[in-house]
């Protein structure tokens, strides 16, 4: 055996890859996410039909789908640990910060995987032409990171309570609202084909939201995690 001290980031990475391996084996969270997203997207587009929606509504629709899909899958990483009784095993070996970082990374990966599927499908179904893709992806990436950052802590809270599904939605919504509003606005601008700088203030807000959420989560996570 070799004892070699390692960094917080390394440990977070260990936890992330463990979760990734697990998820790739049975895909519970990913399946839930994808099923929900695809179904909702197709259903709405079917209902709307040929008339199409304006840029504002399309932007709102996109983020509603992402938001609710996230709600159906992002709490899994903590809930599964509670249900399979591996929480205490994890508690005994890892520090709260490394656990938060690992789970956050996992949720980010999950969300990005969802978006890889949803974004092309969305563009296909909604006929959005002339969009500013740079702005769109800028908003998408920052907002997704912020979404994951805010919901990971809430997922930890919910995993220790009853009625997890509905509670996760109730707790997340007020906290995610500023993110959603800003992301919708930024995405709307990108759909209109506006120049990148016009969405600059939205990007600034998304970035500061992300930073604040991560810092607050790191400070508060231990209180949720330890008994």
């Amino acid at each position: 055996m070799e004892r070699k001290p390692s960094s917080l980031v390394y440990k977070g990475w260990c936890i992330f890859s463990k979760d990734l391996k697990s998820e790739l084996r049975n895909r519970y969270a990913l399946n839930a996410l994808l099923m929900f997203a695809v179904t909702t997207l197709v259903a709405v587009n079917f209902a709307v039909g040929q008339f199409g929606l304006g840029e504002k509504l399309l932007a709102a629709l996109f983020w509603i789908v992402v938001f609710f899909s996230a709600l159906s899958g992002l709490a899994q990483t903590f809930i599964k640990e509670e249900e399979t009784k591996t929480v205490s095993t994890l508690k005994l070996v890892a520090s709260p910060n490394s656990i938060y970082l690992g789970k956050l990374t996992f949720n980010i990966a999950l969300l990005f995987t969802l978006e890889v599927v949803i974004v092309p499908l969305f563009f296909l179904l909604s006929n959005v032409g002339g969009a500013n893709l740079l702005l769109f992806f800028g908003v998408l990436i920052l907002a997704s990171l912020g979404l994951a950052a805010a919901t990971t802590l809430i997922a930890a809270i919910v995993s220790k309570a009853a009625v997890k599904g509905a509670l996760f939605a109730a707790l997340s919504f007020p906290i995610l609202l500023p993110l959603l509003v800003t992301a919708i606005r930024g995405t709307e601008l990108s759909f209109r084909g506006e120049v990148f700088m016009s969405g600059f203030s939205e990007l600034k807000i998304l970035l500061s939201y992300l930073v604040v959420m991560i810092v607050a989560s790191l400070m508060l996570f231990d209180f949720v995690w330890s008994e």
Binding site: M1, E2, R3, K4, P5, S6, K11, C14, I15, K18, K21, S22, R25, N26, T84, K85, T86, S88, T89, K91, L92, V93, A94, S95, S98, S226, E227
Partner: protein, 207 residues
């Protein structure tokens, strides 16, 4: 080699207003084994969990010493192992993957060969690439022991150590306790009369 010691003073825990245990005081040194006994529901598992740092104590404290210095936090985690029924391993990972993950997150690095060898020592030879979910409960218990001992802990906590084990397994646990007693402190929570003999010190709960 630094001498290990555990000092428990006035340890109490209550749930929902009801006392689980109160005012526990004890000192255990290296070479000694502490046996915690009591009827079902008397708080043996809770006491072990509080001592392992999984639960916060209501009052009092547990202090860990290696030589003269107090160890706590991550330093303590690296030297403490708990084996219990309600601490599961990851069913969707293989035995080797479990051991690999759990050891490297505690800064202990083993080669695949070393791990495979250890698996054989614990009667799990050749099962390294099988999912833990496919193991019987006896095999899972053995794997938990293996994981617990990999990092050579100074403090080994065992909750109902021979539950679910066959004769072979019981013998294995006996060997483990006897050998670990020399270099570490073993704390045992049990109902089995035969296991009372391991302990130089005994703590009776539920009185």
């Amino acid at each position: 080699m630094s001498i290990a010691q555990i000092k428990i003073s006035g340890l109490s825990k209550s749930f929902d207003g009801r006392d689980v245990f109160a005012d526990i005081t004890e000192v255990v040194s290296q070479g000694e084994c502490l046996v915690i006994t009591g009827p079902n529901g008397s708080g043996k598992t809770t006491l072990l969990r509080v001592m392992a740092g999984l639960l916060r104590a209501g009052a009092g404290s547990v202090e860990y010493f290696l030589g003269d210095s107090v160890i706590q936090g991550q330093g303590l985690k690296r030297n403490l192992s708990l084996v219990s029924q309600d601490l599961a391993l990851y069913d969707e990972l293989t035995a080797l993957e479990n051991l690999h993950f759990l050891s490297r997150i505690q800064d202990c690095h083993f080669s695949k060969e070393e791990l495979a060898q250890r698996l054989s020592q614990f009667g799990l030879g050749g099962r390294g690439n099988d999912l833990v979910g496919s193991f019987s409960s006896g095999m899972k218990q053995r794997l938990k022991y293996l994981h617990a001992l990999l990092k050579e802990p100074k403090f080994l906590f065992l909750d109902e150590p021979t539950a679910n084990l066959d004769e072979e397994g019981v013998r294995l646990v006996d060997e483990i306790i006897k050998s670990q007693k020399r270099d570490a402190i073993v704390v045992l929570a049990t109902n089995e009369r035969s296991e009372l003999n391991y302990g130089e010190k005994t703590l009776q709960l539920g009185l």
